[in-house]
């Protein structure tokens, strides 16, 4: 019985190992194809990696580039957005995303915002997830160890700055933990998508022949509010909402 379990575990590990190897192989193949200018082949290889259920930001970034070169703006932006989600701090990702966004047709005017709000929001969204996570964990450990120290080395309570140190660690920990949680919550609850078709009619209800509200063009990002069978209810940055068919867009 026990032996069988060990065998299964070993097999699973091996399987994931070979999967990762396969992903790497296809990723490298895709890069080679891209270098030689065969963007269609590059796309096929990269997409194969995704079909293996493997990902990292490099993959999405390169795939975005390959789509961009093949003039598929919608998919380029979709993949850049995916790369951005994984590595928001990466400059190359930001740059290419911006470059691609420049080529989109739709200009969604944002309601004017207070400058400090924009700054705050930006500041809130700029650190990557892993940075927030590790900072939170380190601060957490610092606080716990610092606090525990008083029980094992009672003399430390008399040391200058001990109290300050522990309280600072706690405050910082709570601060980072809350930002992390908010971001985590946002990511877990808010879904975004990108228009993939050249032109999409946004309708007032999830039925064919419904009133057309407005038209969106490829590359436009939106928030997915809900899904009803083959329809998505979307919301634009400026607050406009409507329904589009699910196949005309991609989930970030």
């Amino acid at each position: 019985m026990k032996k069988r379990l060990v065998f299964i575990a070993l097999f699973a590990m091996l399987a994931t190992q070979t999967l990762a190897d396969e992903a790497t192989t296809y990723f490298v193949k895709g890069n080679k194809a891209y270098e030689s200018g065969d963007f269609a082949a590059a796309i096929a290889n990269y997409e194969h990696v995704i079909s293996l259920n493997e990902e990292n930001w490099h993959l999405y970034f390169n795939l975005g580039n390959a789509y961009f070169r093949s003039n598929n703006l919608g998919r380029a932006i979709l993949n850049y957005e995916r790369a951005f989600k994984l590595a928001p701090e990466n400059e190359d990702v930001q740059f290419n995303l911006e470059m691609a966004a420049l080529q989109t047709t739709d200009r969604i005017p944002l309601p004017p915002k207070e400058a400090y709000l924009v700054l705050l929001e930006n500041w809130f969204n700029s650190p990557s997830f892993s940075f927030l996570l590790y900072t939170t964990l380190i601060l957490y450990a610092t606080f716990i160890l610092g606090w525990a120290l008083r029980y094992f080395v009672p003399a430390i309570t008399g040391a200058p700055f001990y109290q300050f140190f522990v309280v600072t660690a706690l405050v910082l920990f709570l601060f980072f933990a809350s930002i992390f949680s908010l971001r985590w919550y946002n990511q877990a609850t808010k879904q975004f998508g990108v228009i993939l078709e050249k032109e999409v009619n946004v309708t007032s209800s999830p039925t064919t022949g419904a009133t057309e509200l407005f038209i969106l063009h490829e590359g436009t990002k939106f928030q997915i509010k809900e899904q009803a069978s083959q329809w998505l209810r979307i919301r634009l940055r400026d607050g406009k909402t409507g329904w589009i068919t699910a196949e005309s867009a991609g989930r970030i």
Partner: protein
């Protein structure tokens, strides 16, 4: 040595030569002859005034008497000398007035009057004179009503005051400035004037010179008569279309002080000659219409960016900073200064790097109308906002114009400025997204190359923070820490609180004694069994109740149990079990095994119940 000497000596010689030339020119004389009226009646007196102006002594000057025997008779002369210092230079003048009486009707010329000085001869210009016959009617005119003198006066005025339009050139290119001066000529005293109309310079762009104060007057001798001239208004016209164009006339209303004609023999004549007693008459003067021929600018060699600027210009360009951060503004300043029509001038929009956001320029112009020509400057200030980092070059800024002096097109080129754009710290104002669509198309910028880094792949959607390990890491330390603290608190209580320690030990000790009792029971040692049984119970209760060893007596224990609020039933069974133990131990050494087993069970249940209650 020799050459050095020459070098030393040449400048003084040169200066000396110049000084001598100055002396020679100072010796020159200006000789002007004027006549009081060009039209004189026969038998009337006229005067010729000869003025000699020069730098030196003039006592020796004795001009030759003009010989006018042909038509006039000399009656006498009058001399006056004058000298003054003007700008440190002595100037002397001599005025000789000759009186003649006209004798013959007709048109005559007064020949130049020669003046000799140090062997040189200077001469005045000839003067025309018309001698009319209308002398006789004069007395009758005077006897008539006052209308006649006025007519006389107005014809007089026509000759004595008029307005002229003077243009500096008559054939000009489109855009070439023409200076138009409205000059008043008067032999009368003008006390005031005003412009009656503002000419409509339809085909011209006009720029009026600023006049400072009252116009400057100067003397001019026309046909031997002394006139005062003054430029009332000066306008620069820039033709805007080709062909023959005329400058419309300007009308000026001049207030002229007239002298009443009185009998010359009146003894008060000279007294009433005083202008104070004159009367003022307003006259309307109309300048003549002047026609200009405007030529088109040559087509040969016309630069492509030429936008019609004619004149002479210079250009300077500058940026306020060469190193800038993205999204910070740079100001590019282009100043075009010079002579010409600054107002209608336009500068073609320079070409800027595509990633620069360019705002409409701020254009300011400053025109100086006080000098001899219209000068000015036009400043273009472009606000540039670089949206991307990198090194950029602003192409040279060119400006083409037609140079009037050289009669050819010229192109000025300034600039080629290098701008280094550093990355700004603001990522928010997502720069390029603000550009308009057409500008986007121009962006030749490319996306960045793919990432060749071979990082490990992770299953899609799997995140460390979603994993069990993460939550374990998060909750583990605090759990370990908490349990550590509880354990430590427990240890501390054991060490310091005897009652707590005894209470915690009670069960353990009781169990040990019960075990001994059990073995004794199996061995059939009745006394040991009962004594151990009794000790287990009493010790347990004592430990639980924290009673002194010495007070471990049944009555004391029962009292203590009652005191702790244990119900009677339990206390009764506690008492009966102990009594039975004592009884069996001492009175009945051989008890049946069943009795021992019941007693053992009883003690066990008692301990369990007491453990619950205490």
């Amino acid at each position: 040595m020799n050459s050095k000497f020459i070098q030393k000596i040449i400048p003084p010689i040169f200066i000396l030569l110049i000084a001598m030339a100055g002396l020679l020119s100072a010796a020159e004389l200006q000789v002007t002859a004027t006549i009081n009226s060009n039209r004189v009646a026969v038998d009337e007196q006229f005067t010729i005034t000869l003025q000699v102006v020069g730098g030196g002594m003039m006592n020796s000057i004795e001009p030759e008497l003009p010989n006018l025997d042909e038509f006039a008779a000399y009656t006498g002369s009058n001399q006056s000398s004058n000298f003054q210092f003007i700008n440190g230079k002595m100037s002397t003048s001599k005025t000789i007035t000759y009186y003649y009486i006209a004798r013959k009707i007709g048109s005559f010329t007064i020949p130049p009057i020669p003046v000799k000085l140090k062997g040189e001869t200077f001469a005045s210009k000839p003067i025309n004179i018309e001698i009319t016959k209308s002398t006789q009617p004069q007395p009758s005119q005077r006897s008539n009503t006052g209308r006649a003198p006025q007519q006389q006066a107005s014809t007089d005025v026509k000759d004595n005051i008029y307005l002229k339009t003077i243009v500096d050139k008559k054939k000009v290119f489109v855009g070439e400035p023409v200076t138009v001066s409205y000059v008043i000529y008067t032999a009368l005293q003008v006390t005031n004037y005003s412009f009656r109309n503002k000419p409509n310079y339809g085909d011209f762009w006009s720029e009026e010179f600023q006049s400072k104060g009252s116009p400057q007057t100067s003397e001019k001798i026309i046909n031997g008569r002394r006139f005062l001239t003054a430029t009332l208004k000066k306008v620069v016209l820039f033709p805007t279309s080709t062909g023959k164009k005329s400058i419309p006339p300007q009308e000026v209303e001049a207030a002229v002080r007239m002298r009443e004609r009185r009998a010359r023999r009146d003894i008060f004549d000279s007294f009433f000659d005083d202008p104070f007693f004159g009367r003022t008459v307003n006259h309307i003067l109309k300048s003549d219409e002047v026609e200009l021929e405007i030529l088109p600018l040559p087509t040969a060699g016309r630069p492509r960016d030429f936008s019609g600027s004619v004149g002479r210009f210079s250009m300077t360009t500058s940026v306020d900073q060469n190193t800038v951060k993205t999204n910070d503004a740079i100001t590019l300043k282009i100043v075009i200064a010079g002579e010409g029509n600054i107002r209608t001038m336009s500068l073609p929009k320079p070409k800027f790097p595509d990633s620069f956001e360019v705002y409409d320029p701020k254009i300011s112009e400053k025109i100086d109308r006080s000098g001899a020509s219209i000068k000015g400057r036009k400043t273009y200030e472009y606000l540039l906002v670089p949206r991307e980092q990198g090194q950029f070059r602003i192409d040279p800024i060119t400006f083409s114009y037609f140079d009037l002096n050289e009669k050819r097109y010229k192109t000025l080129s300034r600039g080629a400025m290098d701008i280094i754009v550093e990355k700004g710290d603001k990522r928010v104002s997502s720069p390029a997204r603000g550009l308009s669509k057409s500008e986007v198309k121009l962006l030749g910028k490319d996306i960045r190359y793919i990432s060749l880094e071979n990082e490990t792949f992770e299953p899609v959607g799997e995140k460390f923070y979603n994993s069990l390990l993460f939550w374990f890491l998060l909750s583990g330390p605090i759990l370990v820490f908490m349990s550590g603290i509880f354990y430590r608190q427990h240890q501390e209580k054991l060490g310091t609180n005897i009652a707590y320690a005894r209470s915690r030990k009670a069960q353990k000790m009781a169990n040990r004694q019960l075990k001994t009792a059990h073995t004794a029971m199996k061995a059939g040692d009745v006394t040991l069994f009962y004594s151990e049984l009794a000790r287990a119970l009493t010790a347990f209760a004592g430990n639980k109740l924290n009673v002194q060893e010495s007070a471990l007596v049944r009555d004391e224990l029962i009292k203590a149990l009652r005191f702790r609020g244990i119900e009677d039933e339990l206390v009764q069974s506690f008492d009966s079990v102990l009594q039975e133990c004592d009884f069996r131990r001492f009175a009945m050494p051989d008890a049946p095994e069943t009795a021992m087993e019941t007693a053992y069970e009883n003690v066990n249940t008692l301990i369990v119940s007491l453990e619950k209650k205490l």
